[in-house]
């Protein structure tokens, strides 16, 4: 039976071929990418043990990203819902406004240390792209961002930021013109330029090594949170629920990684996927809506696909969650039953956004609004001794056009 080992980071619990639980992950890559992937794997495994590299990482996490991000109680929202206490880890405090900056910073450091001058990345909501462009600028790297044409239209503020940082945005017009196509195109670009260029995968997806690097980077979130919880409550409370949205799953893994060894009865992990528009058949929720195992972008995971293995189009109001696959790590957490996965529809997320912004001085983007939707749904049924913590992993500035259109709200 599939089992999670204790006292070993989840990112390291894979077999020699890179599979978690014997079947999730791996590295399904063209021969050309074998060497760059092997080189990166070697470099990363050395650097993560290297004290001066860790020091450098921590320096930038503290002084550039701005760790720690706040951990706050949402008093008014808790009172309004009248059940569990609701808290937020305000990861959107991080430089750039979302958790994507952790992975981007680490990749830029890796790129530098491998002596490469060019860095490329994919982006959906535009945060991964924006952060990579920031990190590239900070570390003097030339940057190209691959982004679906549909996403370029709906996430304009982040595109403006990327351009301002000197990155080149490559619009991807194939397929559904969203994140899935951006990742494909980025990988194709890397196949052609892997001798001079480093690739950053924007989430805990892709070939095994990219899952690991991203998870290692975002784990900072839960390291901070663990300390903050101890300070706030003196000890870890008896009933905690950690709620996080899941697209690729990088912020959720980072939010949970320090808490995976706790018993489920004490700390429940809840992942919320994008259910898409209420009456649409399309969604981006492979875990909670029973998608089959498949191979996408170099890894095996649950994937929204048809019987033939063609990848399905997805639909979500949230560009950051609009992806047919999901991290192999989350598949592993699902099948070992350590985490529970559910979904929120576009309407649920919009409604949650309305409620949160009405009661709190917090402006969560549409991605964490999915997580808030679940918190709002379950909080009233729970007692006050239950502590719900939502990872508010992105800021809604990028969503201003969508929110204005859907809610008539100016932000």
């Amino acid at each position: 039976m599939m089992k999670i080992k204790k006292n070993i980071p989840l990112i390291d619990q894979h077999d020699k071929f890179g599979f978690w639980g014997g079947k999730f992950g791996g590295s399904y890559i063209p021969e050309t990418l074998k060497k760059p992937v092997d080189d990166l794997t070697k470099e990363f495994s050395e650097l993560r043990k290297n004290r001066s590299f860790i020091k450098k990482r921590d320096f930038y996490f503290n002084n550039y990203i701005g760790s720690p991000t706040r951990f706050i109680k949402l008093e008014n929202l808790s009172k309004h819902l009248g059940g569990a206490q609701i808290w937020a880890k305000v990861v959107s405090d991080a430089n750039g406004g979302a958790h994507k900056i952790y992975n981007a910073t680490v990749h830029a450091l890796l790129c530098k240390s491998m002596g490469k001058k060019y860095i490329v990345g994919d982006t959906g909501a535009g945060y991964a792209g924006k952060m990579l462009s920031m990190a590239a600028k900070k570390f003097g790297l030339k940057c190209k961002i691959f982004m679906g044409a549909k996403d370029i239209k709906r996430q304009k503020p982040n595109c403006d930021a990327m351009k301002k940082n000197g990155a080149e945005i490559i619009p991807v017009t194939t397929g559904s013109q969203t994140l899935v196509d951006a990742v494909s195109e980025c990988m194709r670009y890397w196949v052609s330029n892997c001798d001079t260029t480093h690739m950053c995968v924007g989430s805990t997806v892709g070939p095994n090594i990219f899952v690991k690097i991203c998870g290692w980077s975002t784990a900072q979130i839960s390291r901070e949170l663990k300390k903050q919880i101890k300070i706030q409550f003196k000890k870890i409370p008896k009933k905690i629920k950690l709620i996080n949205c899941v697209g690729g799953g990088s912020s959720a893994y980072g939010f949970w990684s320090e808490f995976i060894d706790f018993p489920k009865s004490q700390i429940e992990l809840i992942g919320v996927e994008a259910g898409g528009p209420k009456n649409s058949k399309l969604h981006a929720a492979p875990l909670s809506r029973g998608a089959k195992l498949g191979v996408l972008h170099g890894a095996a995971s649950y994937v929204c696909q048809n019987n033939e293995g063609q990848i399905n189009e997805t639909e979500s109001i949230s560009a950051g969650l609009d992806y047919p696959g999901v991290s192999p790590i989350h598949c592993f957490l699902k099948d070992t039953k350590r985490a529970r996965y559910t979904y929120a529809t576009d309407e649920d997320a919009l409604n949650a956004y309305k409620i949160v912004t009405k009661y709190e001085k917090l402006n969560p983007s549409l991605e964490p609004s999915h997580a808030f939707a679940e918190a709002i749904r379950i909080a009233p049924r729970l007692n006050n001794d239950t502590v719900i913590i939502v990872n508010s992993c992105g800021d809604a500035k990028k969503d201003r056009d969508i929110l204005k259109k859907r809610l008539g709200k100016r932000i």
Binding site: S27, S184, G298
Partner: protein, 266 residues
């Protein structure tokens, strides 16, 4: 049983020319047309590579992507791919066919079922773009046990140690990717450099048939004629696109292109 892939190389070698391999996408632009194209070009082609299209191809350039999307848009299913091979083999039984595609489609079909179906349709070999060595060892073995050649890929980034191991585990044919590129990229290294790398591969095992692919067009094919075989794919897909855009018959146009390619190496 005669191994058709080996035989094709042997025949070409006797005529002192490289084997010509073409790549077309099954169902591009329709099932009927793609079969007609195969039948028509087969007189000039030694081995037919037939792509089973996937909608998330991570190693294909624009031309082959366009062909794949076109076939899928016309409703092509994997069962149609096998039917096309079967129909083709009815009339051209001695022409070796190699299917090429991405692993997820084989995975969803079931490895064993897929190989079985290959066998019954007359497929002689398989190329799986995103199933590299050593991960492909198990699947390659299964193929071999059913007398289907699993074609290993090599690239300019493949280390010497890897080259040796992969060649040792390879079957009748190996495929050298000419440069760091997706399919259909402009040839960015000199043919001399490509042949240099090719010769290193041949030195490891001179008996293995090695083909060169990626970036080969009418312009470049003659310069690489000392190889065992040469693969042309994107240039053909491009011709299909061009023909459709000009409302011309892709069958006649593609046949002309293939005849010219063959002419350049004969």
């Amino acid at each position: 049983m005669i191994n058709l892939i080996n035989l094709a190389f042997k025949n070409a070698k006797e005529k002192k020319r490289p084997a010509l391999l073409t790549y077309t996408v099954a169902g591009d632009n329709t099932k009927k047309k793609s079969l007609e194209i195969l039948k028509s070009i087969s007189k000039d082609v030694d081995i037919c590579e037939i792509g089973f299209p996937h909608n998330t191809p991570i190693a294909d350039g624009g031309q082959i992507q366009t062909s794949a999307y076109r076939a899928l848009k016309n409703g092509l299913k994997i069962s149609d791919v096998f039917q096309i091979v079967k129909d083709f083999k009815k009339t051209k039984n001695s022409k070796p066919v190699i299917l090429m595609g991405y692993y997820n489609m084989i995975y969803q079909y079931g490895e064993n079922n897929f190989i079985k179906k290959c066998k019954s349709s007359g497929v002689n070999g398989l190329i799986v773009v995103d199933l590299p060595w050593p991960e492909n060892k198990g699947f390659a073995k299964k193929c071999k046990s059913k007398a289907i050649s699993f074609v290993q890929l090599l690239s300019p980034t493949t280390s010497k140690e890897r080259l040796k191991n992969i060649i040792k585990d390879s079957h009748d044919m190996i495929y050298y990717i000419s440069m760091l590129s997706t399919t259909g990229g402009k040839l960015k290294v000199s043919p001399k450099q490509i042949l240099n790398n090719y010769n290193k591969i041949k030195k490891i095992d001179p008996k293995k048939n090695c083909v060169i692919g990626f970036g080969i067009t009418e312009k470049t094919i003659a310069k690489l004629r000392s190889a065992d075989g040469l693969v042309v794919g994107s240039a053909i897909c491009k011709e299909i696109t061009r023909s459709l855009n000009n409302r011309q018959n892709p069958v006649t146009n593609v046949s002309k292109v293939v005849a010219k390619l063959r002419n350049k190496i004969s």
